[in-house]
Amino acid sequence: MGIHQISVFLENRAGQLAEITSILSDNKIDMRAISIAETSDYGVLRLIVSEPERTASILLSHGFILSMTPVVAVAVPDEPGGLARVLHILAEAEIDIEYMYAIIGRIAGRAYMIFRVNDEEKFRVTLATSGLATISKEELGIQ
C-alpha cells in the first residue's frame, strides 16, 4: 500500500484550518506534511498524517468534504540543484507533476517531497532507474 494524502475542501473561512488542526491534535494524530492550494474563495488542504483512515473518518464526521489521493514520497538529495535534478528526470520521461510539497523535517541530509503525478507507475520506474529513492509509508511512520 502506497501513501494516501487526505485532500480536504476548505471554504476560505477564517478558522477552518485551525479547526482541522485542533481536531487532529485532540485525536493525537500527527501531521507529516501539509500544503494548501487556494484561490481567493476556497482551497484544497492536502495532508499526510500518521493515521490516514482514522483521520478521514473523524473529519467526515465533522462534516468536511474530502478525498483520499495516492501520492508518492521521494527522497530528494538535500543539496543545491537536488530538486532540479529530479524535475529534469521527470520532464525527460514526460511525466506531468500535478503538484508537490515538502514533508516536515528532514533526515540524514535528505529532503522528502510528496509528489502527485499523472502516471504513478511510470513515475516509480523512472525514479528507480535514475537511482532516486521513494519512501515507504512505514519509513514516514504512517499506519
Binding site: 485532500s7 471554504e11 476556497y42 489521493t69
Partner: protein, 432 residues
C-alpha cells in the same frame, strides 16, 4: 394538413379579433360593474366607470385583481351571476391559505370545453381518436376540461383520472388510446413504465397534451422520443376557467391564447405598467366571455413573452411562451430579470445540488449577483485546477442563461440552511 376546431375563429383576421375583443370587453365591464360589488368598488377607488372603457385600448385603466383579492373575496365575492344560474364549481389549492373557488354557468362550461376542443384538434385529434384523460377529475380543472373538449371533438373519451398505472396501461393497450392528456411528469413516468414492461409495440399513442405544471424543452424531447408521439403544451388556470386558455399548435413554438375569450397583457410586475409586445413580464388575463366568474385584469404571476408573429399553422391568435418563472420570485439585477428557477436549472444541469443561495448586493452603485452553492463529495477533487474549471463552466452556464455575470461561491457542505420556503434562497441586501 393543419386542422382546426373552429377555423373561422382560430384563423380570423386580426381586425376581426380586435372587433370581438372591443365589443365583448365593453359588455363585460358593464356586467362586472352591475353584478360584482367587490370589483366595482375597486373601479370607483380608481375613478373609473364603464363609460371610460370603450375598447381594448382602455383596458389599462382598469384595476388589477390578484390572488389576494380572490382570497379576500372567498367564496362569493367575485361571483357575477346568481347562484341559481351557476352549475359547477372547480377549485385549486393556493400555496398558502384558502382555496380558490371558481364558478361556471352552463354557458361558461360550454366555452371552456370549446377551448379544450381547439387544443385537442390542434394536437391532431378527430372523432376517430381514443382520448385518454389521465388528469385528475374532481375539483381540479384538468380532467373535467379535457374530458369536455374530447366529447366536443367526438373522440372516444377514457375518463381515467390520475393514478393506478397498471390500469392506465391496460386500457391504453386494450382500447388503443391515441391521445394522452396528463401532466408532463406523469407522461414521463408512463413512458418509463412502458419501456420497462417492453410494451412499446402495443401502444398506439400519436399525441399528448401535457400541462398544469412547468416542463422543459428537454423533457418534451424525452417524452416524444420515448413514446413516439408529438407532445403539446397546454396552459390555463382555474381562475380563468382551466386548461385551454392557451394551447400549442403543430409549430410547437408557443401557445395560442384564445383571444376571443381572453385578452392577454404583459406588465412590469413591479410598476404594473403595460409592456410592448415581445417584452418579458407578468401575464395578465381579462375574461371577456365568462359570466359566473368574470375576472378583469387578473395577474397570473406567470412570467412570459407574447408574440403576434405569423404562425405557420395558420392561427392568428397571439402566442405566449412557456412561463419562465413566477413574478413573486423575480429579481431585477442590473436591469435584467432574474429568476431563482433559472439558476436552479443551471445548477442541476451542471451536477450541483439544488440547495443554493442567491446574494444580491449593490457595490459602487452597481448590482452584484453571487450564487453560493455547496461543494459535494462527487464534485470535489484534490486538484484545484479541476475545481476552478468546474467553477468557470458554472459561471459560463449562468451567464448564458441569465445574460449577466454571476459570481459563483463554492461553500462548505451544510453551510446553506435547508428550507422548504423559497424566500430564504434569496438575500437581497439592496433592500436593507
Amino acid at each position: 394538413m393543419e386542422r382546426y376546431y373552429q377555423p373561422e375563429i382560430e384563423c380570423a383576421s386580426r381586425e376581426q379579433i380586435l372587433r370581438w375583443q372591443n365589443e365583448r370587453l365593453v359588455k363585460q365591464v358593464q356586467h362586472v360593474w352591475d353584478s360584482v360589488p367587490y370589483y366595482r368598488k375597486k373601479m370607483e377607488e380608481k375613478g373609473v366607470t364603464p363609460a371610460d372603457i370603450k375598447g381594448v385600448e382602455d383596458l389599462h385603466k382598469l384595476p388589477f385583481l390578484t390572488k389576494d383579492d380572490l382570497r379576500e373575496a372567498y367564496p362569493y365575492g367575485l361571483l357575477g351571476k346568481p347562484l341559481k344560474d351557476c352549475v359547477r364549481i372547480q377549485s385549486t389549492s393556493g400555496t398558502t391559505g384558502k382555496r380558490v373557488v371558481a364558478f361556471y354557468t352552463q354557458h361558461d362550461i360550454d366555452l371552456w370545453e370549446d377551448c379544450c376542443a381547439r387544443a385537442i384538434v390542434a394536437a391532431g385529434g378527430t372523432d376517430e381518436d381514443v382520448c385518454h384523460v389521465s388528469y385528475g377529475y374532481g375539483l381540479f380543472t384538468g380532467g373535467p376540461g379535457l374530458n369536455g373538449g374530447s366529447h366536443k371533438v367526438g373522440c372516444l373519451t377514457l375518463p381515467m383520472s390520475s393514478g393506478n398505472t397498471d390500469r392506465q396501461l391496460q386500457f391504453m393497450v386494450d382500447l388503443g388510446s391515441t391521445i394522452l392528456c396528463c401532466t408532463p411528469s406523469y407522461a414521463a413516468y408512463l413512458a418509463e413504465c412502458i419501456h420497462e414492461r417492453g410494451i412499446q409495440s402495443k401502444i398506439k399513442l400519436k399525441a399528448g397534451i401535457f400541462g398544469a405544471e412547468a416542463w422543459s424543452e428537454e423533457m418534451r424531447q424525452d417524452i416524444q422520443s420515448k413514446l413516439g408521439i408529438k407532445a403539446y403544451d397546454i396552459y390555463g388556470l382555474t381562475e380563468t376557467s382551466g386548461p385551454g386558455v392557451a394551447f400549442e399548435c403543430s409549430a410547437q413554438t408557443g401557445m395560442h391564447i384564445n383571444e376571443d375569450h381572453f385578452i392577454a397583457e404583459i406588465i412590469d410586475p413591479n410598476t404594473g405598467e403595460v409592456l410592448p409586445e415581445g417584452s418579458k413580464g407578468e401575464l395578465v388575463f381579462t375574461s371577456i366571455t365568462k359570466e359566473a366568474f368574470p375576472l378583469l385584469r387578473y395577474r397570473t404571476r406567470d412570467i412570459c413573452v407574447l408574440t403576434r408573429e405569423k404562425c405557420p399553422c395558420g392561427r392568428t391568435h397571439v402566442k405566449m411562451s412557456k412561463p419562465m418563472g413566477r413574478s413573486d420570485d423575480m429579481l431585477i439585477i442590473k436591469g435584467v430579470n432574474v429568476f431563482p428557477s433559472q439558476i436552479e436549472t443551471v445548477l442541476l444541469e451542471q451536477g450541483y445540488p439544488a440547495n443554493y443561495q442567491i446574494i444580491v448586493d449593490r457595490v459602487n452603485n452597481s448590482d452584484t449577483l453571487e450564487v453560493q452553492v455547496e461543494m459535494t463529495p462527487e464534485n470535489f477533487s484534490d486538484s484545484l485546477a479541476h475545481i476552478t474549471d468546474m467553477e468557470k463552466s458554472l459561471v459560463g452556464a449562468l451567464k448564458a442563461m441569465l445574460g449577466i455575470y454571476a459570481k459563483v461561491k463554492l461553500v462548505a457542505p451544510k453551510t446553506i440552511a435547508r428550507s422548504e420556503g423559497k424566500a430564504v434562497r434569496v438575500i437581497d441586501k439592496r433592500k436593507i
